[in-house]
């Protein structure tokens, strides 16, 4: 989740609330606060509320919750006299622009704006792939017509924070910004650019602006460009920026748009209507709000709403894009009303549910295993792939070579466990019940979890019978008649390994571990172990799995 850092005293004085009240209010806006230093707060904002990524947006929301202002604010919109001419840019087809007057970028305001831009890049902009924003000092823009088009990589300009002219290629290769975002929209030796009609570059989206129009303390008016790959996202981002700055007292200046079908001027300041049935809202929430109460709560959420005959008509303002359907309207109402005021309903009496058969079997088996003197262990499903044999799942993006595969047997896990306990008091007698993952051509993924149990004994000397005796007793207690048939199987000693059968079904394997495998796991003690296939056991044992 994104976070923003704000000046605590600025925010408290603009909201006219105490610190405790602020924390409460933000909690109800899905946000958490944390003090970073005595003057600054870090606020965590949910991904669906980018309108709160700027203190003005927080103020707009809080004013509503405190009923100081209701419904959508009226912002002043004027003609700016500027034109944006959008040409064919296949890698990044959409561009819109706006002018914002009287932004008063002094003190913390400039930082807040830059932070807002950066956080929007990360969230709505999907790290600038979907949307990128250029902010310019309007007084330094020297033409009334601005073009959006592709330029060759040899085009020269002075990028932000540089002193010398550079080509776009140089920017891609030699600046941090170029290396981070250069690949996104460059195609066939060309990059998108926002240019004045006299040819001087204002920005190379989504990489960097030109030094020419850099924002400074005292910048009075802004020119804002937004480019991207989704018209909806570009349009919403521009609406959000201008509506947020307008909340701080600025005026919005319209820019004439040429070359994009369906858009004559931007920002679009899109509003759309969502209808919700009051009966639906009350049923979903378990409440009994009247039409009027719902309208009031929605207007506290800074949206316009009207109601008649059981239908609420919500007008979603330009700074919100997260209200899509009836359920979102219901959430808006619940949130403004306050979750802490929504009393959880009374618990009904219910009959107990049920466990999976494997859960009941596992419980019986664990009881018996502990009775037989085994200590239960609980190990990772992830394991180093070199420890496994047979078919198993590996991950394509492991974080460490210790954990590259998901185990297909509990034997390697047990051997690994034992190898780390060679200085412990002997004997070490352990067991584990857990899932492993095996290949299975009958499932839709081609793999399947299967439950297994492992038993292992490590001591100065061990014997087959030392494990067979307790295991046999355990299996008999589960209602089975196990028989043993000599087998040869990894990692067991030839002649000291057997498959365990119940009827004609193999339910496990038991044996002493071959010295080669002991060595592979760095074990200097002998080990006898057994693995039981619980899925086979479930079908083999009858009458023992009901709880």
């Amino acid at each position: 989740m994104p976070t923003i850092v704000v000046n605590k005293w600025d925010l408290l004085s603009s909201l006219k609330v105490s610190e405790g009240e602020l924390e409460d209010l933000l909690f109800n806006l899905k946000s958490e606060t944390k003090e970073v230093d005595p003057d600054h707060l870090e606020i965590e904002i949910n991904n669906d509320r980018p309108d709160l990524l700027h203190p003005f947006g927080i103020k707009r929301a809080v004013d509503g919750l405190l009923e100081r202002a209701l419904g959508e604010p009226k912002y002043e919109v004027v003609e700016s006299g500027y034109t944006l001419r959008v040409h064919q840019v296949p890698s990044r087809p959409y561009a819109l622009a706006a002018v914002v007057y009287d932004v008063k970028l002094s003190g913390e305001r400039l930082n807040e704006l830059i932070q807002f831009q950066e956080k929007l890049h990360v969230t709505v902009g999907r790290k600038r792939t979907k949307v990128a924003i250029g902010l310019h000092d309007l007084s330094k823009v020297t033409s009334k017509v601005i073009e959006y088009k592709e330029v060759p990589l040899s085009t020269k300009f002075v990028p932000l924070n540089q002193k010398e002219e550079m080509t776009v290629s140089d920017v891609l290769e030699r600046t941090d910004q170029g290396r981070a975002y250069g690949r996104i929209s460059v195609r066939d030796g060309k990059s998108p650019a926002i240019i004045e009609d006299n040819g001087s570059i204002l920005s190379v989206p989504p990489i960097i602006n030109a030094e020419k129009t850099r924002l400074e303390e005292g910048t009075k008016d802004l020119f804002v460009d937004v480019t991207g790959t989704s018209f909806e996202a570009v349009s919403f981002t521009l609406d959000l920026i201008v509506a947020t700055l307008a909340e701080g007292g600025s005026r919005i200046g319209l820019v004439k748009v040429e070359g994009l079908s369906g858009v004559a001027r931007s920002p679009v300041l899109r509003r759309y209507n969502v209808r919700a049935e009051t009966e639906y809202v009350n049923r979903r929430l378990g409440t009994s709000f009247s039409e009027d109460e719902m309208v009031r709560l929605l207007r506290m959420a800074r949206m316009e709403a009207t109601a008649s005959k059981g239908i609420i008509e919500v007008t979603v303002p330009p700074y919100r894009a997260d209200v899509l359907a009836q359920s979102d309207v219901a959430e808006e109402i619940a949130q403004v009303y306050g979750y802490r005021r929504l009393e959880p309903s009374k618990q009904r009496f219910r009959r107990p549910g049920s466990f999976l058969p494997i859960t009941s079997l596992t419980r019986a088996l664990r009881d018996l295993s502990v009775g037989a003197g085994f200590l239960e262990i609980y190990t990772f499903a992830f394991i180093r792939k070199e420890y496994l044999w047979g078919d198993f799942v590996t991950v394509a993006n492991p974080v460490t070579e210790e954990y590259t595969a998901i185990r297909n047997s509990l034997m390697p896990s047990a051997l690994l466990f034992l190898s780390r306990n060679q200085n412990a008091r002997m004997p070490v007698k352990v067991f584990e019940v857990n899932d492993v993952v095996v290949k299975d051509e009958t499932t839709d993924t081609g793999y399947r979890n299967v439950p297994r149990a492992i038993y292992a004994i490590m001591d100065y000397q061990v014997s087959y019978e030392q494990l067979q005796a307790p295991l046999h007793a355990i299996l008999e207690d589960l209602g089975l008649r196990p028989v043993y048939k000599e087998t040869s199987a990894e990692p067991l000693i030839e002649g000291r390994a057997a498959q365990i059968y119940s009827g004609d079904k193999v339910i496990g394997v038991i044996g002493e571990v071959r010295p080669e495998f002991l060595e592979k796991f760095d074990l200097r003690f002998p080990v006898v172990l057994a693995e039981i296939y619980l899925d086979s056991l479930l079908t083999a044992s009858r009458g023992n799995s009901s709880s």
Partner: protein
Amino acid sequence: MLSETELKVYNELRKRKVATAEELSNVLNLPLSTVSSVVYLLKQKGLAEVDEREIETYELTPEGKERLEKGLPEELLISALQGRPASVQELREKLGNDLEIALMWAKRKKLVEISNGLVRPLVSSYVAEDERKALADPSKGDPDALKVLVSRGLLRKKRVKEITVSLTEEMEVAEPQQVITVLTSDIIKSGAWKNAKIRPFNVEAFPRFFPLGKKHFFREFLERIRDVMRSLGFSEVSGDYVEMELYNFDLLFQPQDHPAREIHDSFTLGLKARSAPGDLLERVRRMHEESWKYRWNQEIALRLMLRSQTTAVTARILATKPEPPVRVFTIGKVFRPDTIDATHLIEFHQLDGLVIEEGYSFRDLLSDLKEIFYRMGVKEVKFKPAYFPFTEPSVEVYGRIEGLGWVEMCGAGMLRDEILRAVDVSTQAGAWGIGLDRLAMFFNHLNDIRLLYSYEVEFLRRARGSLNADDSG
């Protein structure tokens, strides 16, 4: 008072007056080590003198052992000749590498003559009596023969302790009574215990290590949570670790370019699912394209991953278009890439619940959550508005933990209508996911999540589960 063994040794000594430990060991059929320690006990009790000396003895080398069994080389040579001369060549075939040694000793002992490559026997048969006697029992061997055998590498000298015991004085041992160390079934049946004393033990000494069978505290915690869920009317379901993105993300309304779907946030297998229901794919496509306004890619939905949330199991249940009422839960491992440290692992556990019931409301959901946490032992919770792609309204549950304050524990909400429509369910539904590892840490007062999966057996032997659901009543 003497123990059973002490008494045996003492009685034998009374017959012999003087004996070596070895002799006693042979006569009494006791291990030499036992006799050695018993005689010192007798000495302590003032009953015997013990004299310990180092003496020189001989023992067979591995070669000596072999020669004793198979014959000395010169013996083999004489029997190979069978009284007739033979060429060195012929003899090499019969004696192999032993030939040189055999010829040397046979010549030295004047058993053969050698000329022009021909070996002529001077005796028709030969047994090396002295050497054999010395090899069979070095203590009785002829000194010259012993010397020769040592030089031939068949014997080697060894220094050993010899313990000689003699009775000091005929002390009256109180009642030559039998002392019982191990009370056996035979002793009880025979009544022998009636005239015997049972030897006391040092009952205050600590015992040797005993490995205890014990359940794992974290596993027990998970079982208690299962009990809580069942008691609230939930039935258990399960799913697989290997999952397709369709169920982990797409069906849950998570757009394909959502940040949570980036490569570093889940483990991918680089493989594709074998199949998925065509109509479900079509419905999911429509849901995404209508709501999120982008081109949905089926190939992405079919990619295999390790599930990153047990909500994938919930999604699988939804895809079966279950008939309400449904109250199910699942507990299982999920996998997410992370830096492994005291608070992060790449595999951990979640509890997911799903309710599909006629008239089920957000307040009913809050009630279920409150009750689940109460029964787990978290008595105080608060609800915070939240955002998850697949629920609306969404809520985060914070629980109060002694010493830590409010801790985020769960994400929940009412399933979006878009999802329910995609799976053809027309009843309202609530769902949640709870991370269980952190809760287990709180309840067990652990400050390192890795201890839940400890590979240290001594830690597990010490660990005591302290939860939980039912202990705080």
